[in-house]
Structures are given as structure tokens and as C-alpha cells.
Amino acid sequence: MLAEFLQYLFTGITIGATYALIALGFTLIYNASHVINFAQGEFLMIGGMATVSLTAMGVPMVLAIVLAIILAGILGIALQRFAIAPAKQADVVTLIIITIGASIFIRGIAQVVWGKEYHVMQNFSSDEPIRVFGAVLNSQSLWVLGVGAVVVVALVLFFTKTLTGKAILATSMNKEAARLVGVRTQMVLMLAFLVSALLGSVAGIVVAPITFTSYDIGIILGLKGFVAAAIGGLGSGVGAVVGGLALGIVEAMAAGYISSDYKDAVAFSMILLVLFFMPRGLFGPKVVERV
């Protein structure tokens, strides 16, 4: 019984950690620009696919990872410069459609460049799984959790200790005020997209050995990240992490205990339930509307 429960928990936490990383990416961009970036999943794909194809070309793994992250970063900046910035007057829905267009575009290019096959990435360390109380934990899961934790800590430090981080926070709270005190808000927006792209690609790389990677892996993972961010409360970092983990664990438990057919439906019902009672997610900011 315990082994079974633990097994579902491990599965849930691993995939949940991935969702959390993606959700953090959503949160960052949302905070800086109030845009929901539906192309977030593509950063994930770029991370995984670029690493795989570079290693296949003989580039050492570590270098390939660094290059893949840089590539995703460039893409993030390009997305902000060429797709979001020119349309700043546009409606929220219009911006959503622009990011959807961008995501289709990026996916299309990836498909032409890298083909349509699924690719394997080796585990970072041993292939031997770890056994805990009769449950099995993939060693790569530890990497996902570890990297996730490091990223979260790094983000916290970035936002509380660095001037740039504080500038992003300030912009998210009040764009005009931030501009008045000398924050270059365009720069901040670009930074938010950059960091978000880096986050996405890192998630894509650490999770690739578990999920495989292909040109279209970003669609569903990106969507799950959005779901996680919404459960946690858009704009809340803590919310993104909790939302991601909660979604992962609910999916795994539902698949194990309720019905594998309906596990996604269970996850989506959970979202509805959360939103019924907390219309701004678990940790969303409580805003009083001013009139």
C-alpha cells in the first residue's frame, strides 16, 4: 500500500516539478507584461531538441546544454522584440493569438530543421533506478527536482537581491511608477522573456531523458504549465511551484487510484473546483477593484 502510494507520489512530483518550471516561466512573463505566452512550451522543446541534435553532432553534452539554453534565450528575446513589442496596443486576446501564432511558427521551423521523430536523451547520471520502501525512483527525477530547486532559489535571489530583479518586480506592480523612477520598462520586458525562455529550456533539457523529446512536445507541456500557473494564481511564484506540483500529483494519483481514462479530466475538474472557491487561484493577489 505504502509502496504504491509512494510510487504515485514520486511520479507526480517529478512531472509536477516540470510543470512548476514551466508555470514559473508563464508567471514571469505575466508579471512583467500581463501576457499569457502560449509559446512557452516551445522554449522547452527548443531546449530538449537543440541539446539532442548538438550531442548527435558530436558536441559534448555540457556544451550542448549551454548552447541550447543560449539558443532558447535568443528566441525569447526575439519573441518579445518582434512579436510582442510591436503589438503593445493590442487586446489581451489578440496577444494570446500572437503567441499562438509564434508557437506554431517555431514548431514549424523545428519540424523542418530537426524532423518529426522522437529522440532519446541519456540520463544525466546512472540509468539504475533508486528504490525507496518498495517504490522506484528514476535517477533523472532527482535531477529534475534538484535543478528545479536550484532554479527556484536562484529566482528568489534574483528578485530580492539584484537591482535587475527588483526592477522587474517594480514594473510588474506599477509600470508607470517604475518608468518614473528610471526603470527602462522595455528592457525589463525583454529580460522577463529572456529569463522565462531560459527557464523553459532548462526544464525541457532536464525532463527530456524521461519524456523523450520531439518537435511537438511543447504543445501539451506548455498547456499544462499554464494550467499549473492558473491553479497557483497567475503572477505568484509560490503559486506556480505549488500549482505545478499539485497538478502533477493529482494526475498521478488519479491515474493510479481513480481511472487512467479520466485522469486528465480529474485534473481539469480540480482546476474548476479551485477557481470556484478561489477565483484568483491558490496564491493569486487579492485585488480590490478601484472605481
Binding site: Q89, D91, V92, V93, I97, G101, I109, D261
Partner: protein, 335 residues
Amino acid sequence: MLNRFMQSRLRGLVFLALILVIIPAFLSNSFQYGMVTQIAILAATVVGLNLLVGFAGQISLGHAGFFGLGAYFTGIATGTYGWPSVPALLVGAIMVGIIAWVVGRPILRLKGHYLSMATLAVGFIIAIILNNERALTGGPDGMPVPAFEVFGWELSSFARYSLFGLEIEGFEAWYIFASVILLVAVWFALNLIESPIGRALRSVHGSEVAASVVGVNTAKYKSLVFVISAIYASLMGSLYAHFLGFITPAVASFEFSILFITMVVLGGMGSTFGVILGAAVLTLLPQVLADFQELETVMFGLILMLTMIFMPKGLLPTLTAIVSKRMRKKAGGEA
């Protein structure tokens, strides 16, 4: 002023009717008729969705769920249980309306992206059910749907009819039928928008507080328009199922929901005729891009992105703005 309203409403409708009459002159085979028939059905769907998104300002990322429910209700009722088409279509729409009302009450309290999220979840749940209830829906492989039939008279793309001594092919008959449906759908939508109810809906978008202090029960109106747009989707889903003759859960999928909302935004939110253009463009684009082979996806994404960046208000509103600017300039030059 009021007369001008009336005139502009009717002018749009007449213009649309004229286009629908002229289109067949450019069609040379039943495949092309099939495409425009689908455009008409999808356009009527997004005319309904536009009431919700464009006029009341409530985003739905799950509308294909209602479309799919309508399609499957018709498929199951007529195919499996042998119901006649019209009762199936109506009962399906009533059922979907009730579902939309029940789900709509709580989720329409949500704002902005949270509402998108909730509608997305509703759409997903519907799609998952359609996919999993194999015994009823045929599962992911889909199910066949019989031809549309009224009092034993079948409307099939493959048949031949003689109408007032005029020989017409089945696909032409479908086109005529879908065109009439589209015109009726547009007429209803226009009537709704230019009315006290429509003003209340638009005020929910413009300023929800302003609406409420003059007595608009915003919750009620949001539910109302949600239900109306769901019924539009359900009815059109039923027709779509009859027309295609075969449906899969893809009709309820997230991708399809995104397609619908894209038709609205691309064509021009809040422009009834704009969203029809959006439906036409997005239905034809894959056909046109088919020649680009593997670059098809890239081109599609690029076109979508560029159009939205440079025409954030959508195709029709931007185009009419340009035209009227030109005309004004011309008039100014003459004077």
C-alpha cells in the same frame, strides 16, 4: 439616427446575401462547394461565439466542447437511435444550453485569464468524455452520422434534387441550406446586438460597474450570452456532423476551440461580418498552404502572427478603416 442603424444592419445582411449568391459562380466542383458550406457552418458558429467574446468581452477557450457535444448528440441520436434530424438538433441544443447554463453560472464570475482557463478546462473535460465513452461515441476513431433528414426527405451531398423544375446537386443544396442558416444566424446576432439586451451585453465589456449601477444584472447577462453562444455552437455542430457524415472527438478538441477563437480575433472581435471573414480565411488557408508542403506549418504561424501584429483589431475592422480613410481623403481632395 435609428433609421441609419436599421439601414446599416440591413445593408450588411443584404451584402452578405449577395456574396453568398455570387459565390457559386466561382465554384467549379463539389469539393469547392464543400469548403464554402463548411465555412458557412463554422462562420455561423463564430458569429455566436463573437457575441460572447467580441461583444460581452468574455473569452472562451473551450467552445469546441459545445460544438462537439452538439455534433455527437446528433450523431448518437440520429445514427444510433434513429431519431429524425430536427428533433435531435433541437434537443441537443437545449441540452447543451442547460449544460452551459449550469457551468456558466459559477465560471463566469471569473475574470480574464482565469475565465479562459476555466472554459479551457470545461472544453477539455467534454473532449475527454467523448474520447473515452467508446460504446456511445465510437471513441477516437469517431462515428458515422446519417444524412440530414426532414420528414423522410434527405439532404445529402451526394443526391440530386429537383426544385421548382430546377435540377440541383446535393452539394449545391447543402450550400444553399448552409447559406440560409448563416444568414439567419447573422440576422439573429444583429438583432440581438442592436437591442436593449445587446447594449447590456456590450456594457459588460465596456464597463461592468457602469452596467451594474444602471440596473444591468451582469451575472445574468453573462450567463445568457454564454448560453446563447453555446446553443449556436451546438446547432452548428449538429449540422457540421450531418454535413461531414463522420465525426471524431477532434471536433471538441482544444485545437478546435483555439481555431474558433482565432477566427473571431483574426476576423475582428465585435464585428459580425468580420468573424465570417475570419472563418473563411482560416478554413481556406490550409488548403492554400497545402502547396508549401512541409513549410505549411511555418507559413500558417507566420501569417497568423503578422496579421495580428499589424492588424490587432482584426481583418475587417482594419480594412474598413483603411477604405473609409481613403474615401474621406478623396472627398476632402475634391472639396
